[in-house]
């Protein structure tokens, strides 16, 4: 794991002092609120409906137990005892006081963390595959590149006042767990014919009100060209991106309006210039960074205790079958801790729960934790023999929900409960759906199914790429929920299609239930997932389930 260099440490502390002074200058009138706004945003501080919200970066989703404990400490000392893990590998605190924020930032700096560039029109926290460095299908660990990009983008003098925010995601595996095609730049680590490392580069993805799947900008760029190439893209965007309309300001619109070929030509031109700016110091730094991400020493041990527990305890077995993923080392497993207990707020964790997870990581997980974009926490290297003990401890802390990847593992944005832009509630809908399927006891039968909910058109809940997506709107003062079907955020990214008229708050949960029951009827066997059935049969049978009256009318007419 990456430890801050002296340079990083001095930088972050410098930023805390700068921000302290900026808060003072706002209070004494030197800075207008309008001028202060981007400065506080650059330091992760939003003004929300009820209060300020501080968004702290967890770069590429990786942290150690000391950092997790500090997040717990911040929640206790300056917030209401909990934090909210987001879909972009950040943690948000919803109740900090403006005057406490510099102290919070200082507490973060103490453990090598920060809130820099977690908002504002700049390059945001770089996200990566949450199984990085552990999964079996990986070409290379993407995190050293993400760290290099973090350092490069931090305070980049040209790109702090872009037309709009800019998000970069990196995956090191062909199976895309980082949703890179919905990022402004998506990077996939791959090897060329000669076996040399480099990247396939995508540009112009994004969800929000105009969802678009990123297009391929380059099939392969060599590893050493990463920074000049990304810098070339940003420099083109900074001049070309629209500044007259914030809804048309993302790079996806520039790609759409000018065409990928024009963008590619401009980027290549800029790249030719930029390349000369990098003398190789970045590659030396990359080598140092990579050394810090070396996989921990995974010594072989007998896995008999795991096998025995799995045979003896059905609760453990359900959890193990659902929440474990294959590790590159067969003796180990990747554990996903669900932050989605049925009926709770997706992604919330209390300070006590954070401490439990930190303890488990320290004791059983080589001191490493991950935050996934699906708002869960991951222990990336746990020996199978230790899994029964891990499970027992999680159960005690209310963290052993066995629903990863299932119906109730829902992504939901804050919605009307916290967000000033919301047009509808999203957390309560997620809670009701999860509770309903718990009652039906169908979740494990149904298998992998991604439901994603956004409380307004900005699509923070990624509903466009949910197998079932739900978008809450305001129709003449009444909440109305629109359903999209067949979305996918993986390496086969697809934007879901709108099913038809929306549903009221009372109708939406039964509508989802009808969809899921229809799937169970339609599938050929238990191995065929919801998405596979959808791709085989198309939307019609699902629309029939959603709108039975129309289906009846169609049948009558036929």
């Amino acid at each position: 794991m990456y430890d801050y260099s002296e340079f990083d440490d001095a930088y972050v502390r410098g930023r805390v002092e700068q921000f302290r002074a900026q808060v003072e200058r706002r209070l004494d009138g030197s800075l207008t609120e309008e001028e202060f706004r981007p400065l506080r945003l650059m330091n992760g501080l939003y003004l929300q409906l009820h209060a300020y919200m501080l968004r702290v970066a967890i770069p590429y989703g990786t942290l150690n137990s000391g950092q997790m404990r500090q997040l717990a400490h911040i929640a206790d000392r300056w917030d209401k005892g909990y934090g909210h893990f987001t879909t972009r590998q950040n943690i948000q605190y919803n109740w900090p006081k403006l005057r406490d924020v510099p102290d919070i930032l200082e507490a973060l700096a103490d453990v090598g963390m920060h809130a820099i560039q977690t908002s504002g029109n700049t390059v945001r926290n770089v996200t990566a595959d949450h199984f990085a460095g552990a999964s079996a299908d990986e070409v290379a660990d993407p995190r050293p590149y993400a760290e290099l990009l973090r350092q490069w983008s931090t305070d980049h003098p040209e790109f702090q006042f872009l037309p709009r925010k800019f998000k970069i995601g990196v995956t090191g595996a062909p199976n895309d767990r980082a949703v890179i095609r919905s990022h402004d730049i998506g990077l996939e680590v791959r090897r060329d014919g000669a076996g040399a490392l480099g990247f396939r580069v995508f540009v112009g993805g994004g969800l929000g009100r105009t969802p678009m799947v990123a297009q391929e900008l380059a099939a392969f760029i060599p590893e050493r060209d990463l920074l000049p190439y990304v810098e070339a893209i940003l420099s083109v965007y900074n001049l070309l991106g629209r500044r007259d309309n914030k809804y048309k300001a993302r790079i996806k619109i520039a790609v759409h309006e000018h065409g990928i070929d024009t963008i590619r030509a401009l980027v290549n031109e800029a790249f030719a210039e930029r390349r000369a700016l990098f003398s190789g110091a970045d590659q030396a730094l990359l080598t140092d960074i990579r050394a810090q991400f070396k996989r921990p020493d995974l010594s072989p041990r007998d896995i008999a205790p795991f096998v025995a527990a799995r045979d003896a305890d059905p609760v453990f077995r359900a959890w193990a079958d659902t929440n474990l993923a294959a590790h590159a080392d067969a003796g180990h497993a990747i554990v996903t801790i669900s932050l989605k207990p049925q009926g709770a707020t997706p992604g919330d964790a209390t300070a006590a729960q954070m401490r439990v997870m930190a303890d488990l990581a320290e004791r059983y997980g080589h001191d490493e934790l991950r935050i996934s974009h699906e708002q869960n926490v991951i222990l990336s290297h746990v020996h199978r023999a230790d899994l029964p003990a891990v499970h027992a401890a999680l159960k005690q802390a209310g963290l052993a929900t066995a629903n990863v990847g299932l119906v109730s593992d829902i992504i939901a944005c804050p919605g009307m409960d916290y967000c000033s832009l919301a047009t509808a509630r999203s957390i309560p809908i997620a809670q009701e759906i999860a509770t309903r399927f718990e009652e039906l006891k169908l979740e494990h039968e149904v298998g992998p199914l991604k439901i994603k909910i956004s409380g307004c058109i900005n699509a923070c809940g990624h509903h466009h790429v949910g197998h079932i997506g739900i978008l809450g709107l305001d129709r003449a003062g009444v909440e109305n929920y629109q359903v999209t079907l067949g979305g996918d955020g993986s390496e086969t990214t697809v934007i879901g299609q709108r099913a038809g008229p929306g549903f009221s708050a009372d109708e939406i949960v039964p509508a989802v239930e009808r969809l899921v029951l229809a799937y169970l009827d339609l599938r050929e066997d238990a191995g065929e997932t919801f998405l596979q059935v959808f791709r085989r049969l198309g939307a019609q049978p699902f629309k029939d389930a959603l709108y039975p009256e129309q289906a009846q009318r169609r049948r009558d007419a036929a």
């Binding site: 900026q22 609120e33 981007p38 500044r243």
Partner: protein, 392 residues
């Protein structure tokens, strides 16, 4: 943007209107606002507070069918509600629209009506800003009763303001003094808000308004004890912006000779001044580039150019940083200046991107004195770029 295609950019219209009306009386400004096609669809926003009756009266004289938006926060004094009905009837206003927060929003965010205790900004956003923003959606312009004397943050108020390139904001009373308001009310025998006589010279919501002692600023009773002067009814980019909307226009035209040049060593007077020429001017020693200029057009033409100035129309528009970097990559070694709305917090960025100096207005130099720029004059320290590029 929709409003722009019909009427032309808001900023340009605001500027033209201000120029035309610099020395006019409030009523003339208001007449113009109600009738000029360049203003578009307009509404008066009124709190029916202590001084609101002045504008309401003017409207009733000019065009009593003008839409009047009354924001009922549902936290108002009973006296305000009674006064509202009385004034509307007496003046014959025919289109008073009461604006309230959506019941679901209230139920979700302030079910027990205590939000104002925890966070007045959030409460105002919920009860005023958001409902008003919805109500203003169909309008191109709105009229407010804000006046320069009312607070620090309002001291530069103009008759016509560009509100986030979205709407015009018209402040016919911008230049009025307190006595003007009193005189107008006496001369026109206008009804007084009943609470004025009880010691409330400025009236908002009941929980957030207190009495003002003799000699105190009349607005001292609003949000007493808080660092808050404005309710936050200002939008930029369609989003709420709390506090006043700052003037983003480059101000060198207003106060031409007095701009300040910032370098690593301090503030100085401009020693080049008039010499900057448009980029089309061949043979010029100093060029002026707009924020949308195409730097590539200068390839092969930099011979003999000693200085280039790049405009920053708004501090949030970062194109100039990339333009500067490109000029340096093209081999330009002369003096490079960023001019316009660049703030002290951006000084290190400007220097790192290749600028030598920044040109700012005297107003900005007063608000952000040298010490604030000096704090970022250590631009070589803590610089990730030089570390990654191997340049330092």
């Amino acid at each position: 943007m929709q409003h722009d295609t019909i009427l032309g950019p808001v900023a340009a219209r605001a500027e033209a209107l201000n120029d035309g009306y610099r020395n006019h009386a409030a009523i003339a400004v208001l007449r113009r606002a109600l009738s000029d096609p360049a203003v578009g669809r307009i509404a008066l926003v009124s709190s029916f507070g202590a001084e609101s009756v002045v504008l309401l009266h003017m409207i009733s004289v000019l065009d009593r069918s003008t839409p009047v938006l009354f924001i009922d926060t549902q936290m108002l004094f009973a006296e305000t509600l009674a006064y509202q009905a009385e004034v509307a009837a007496q003046l014959g206003l025919s289109d008073v629209r009461t604006i309230r927060a959506r019941p679901e929003a209230l139920a979700a965010h302030d079910p027990d009506r205590l939000l104002h205790k925890a966070d007045t900004d959030a409460c105002c956003a919920l009860r005023k800003t958001e409902p008003l923003e919805r109500a203003l959606e169909p309008f191109d312009a709105w009229i407010t009763g804000r006046k320069r004397f009312q607070g620090q943050t309002r001291s530069h108020l103009d008759f016509f303001e560009n509100e986030g390139d979205k709407r015009l904001k018209v402040n016919p009373l911008a230049h009025w003094r307190p006595d003007d308001v009193q005189d107008y009310m006496i001369n026109n025998r206008l009804p007084r808000h009943p609470l004025v006589a009880k010691g409330y010279p400025s009236i908002g919501c009941a929980p957030c308004t207190s009495r003002v002692k003799d000699g105190e600023d009349p607005r001292a009773g609003r949000w007493r004890g808080q660092d808050k002067e404005e309710c936050g009814i200002h939008f930029v980019d369609g989003k709420l912006v709390r506090g006043p909307v700052a003037d983003d226009r480059p101000q060198e035209h207003k106060e031409p000779p007095m701009n300040v040049i910032v370098t690593d060593t301090g503030f100085a007077a401009d020693d080049r001044g008039e010499e900057f020429q448009p980029p089309e001017e061949t043979g010029a020693a100093a060029l002026d580039l707009g924020s949308d200029a195409d730097v590539s057009a200068l390839i092969g033409r930099l011979e003999g150019v000693e200085a280039i100035r790049i405009a920053f129309p708004a501090f949030s528009d970062g194109r100039g940083f990339t333009m500067a970097r490109r000029l340096r990559m093209m081999g330009f070694t002369g003096r490079l200046r960023a001019a316009g709305h660049v703030i002290a917090d951006q000084y290190a960025m400007a220097r790192r991107a290749g600028f030598d100096e920044v040109e700012i207005t005297p107003e900005l130099a007063r608000r952000q004195p040298w010490e604030q720029w000096q704090a970022r004059a250590d631009w070589r320290a803590h610089d990730y770029q030089s570390r990654l590029r191997g340049a330092g």
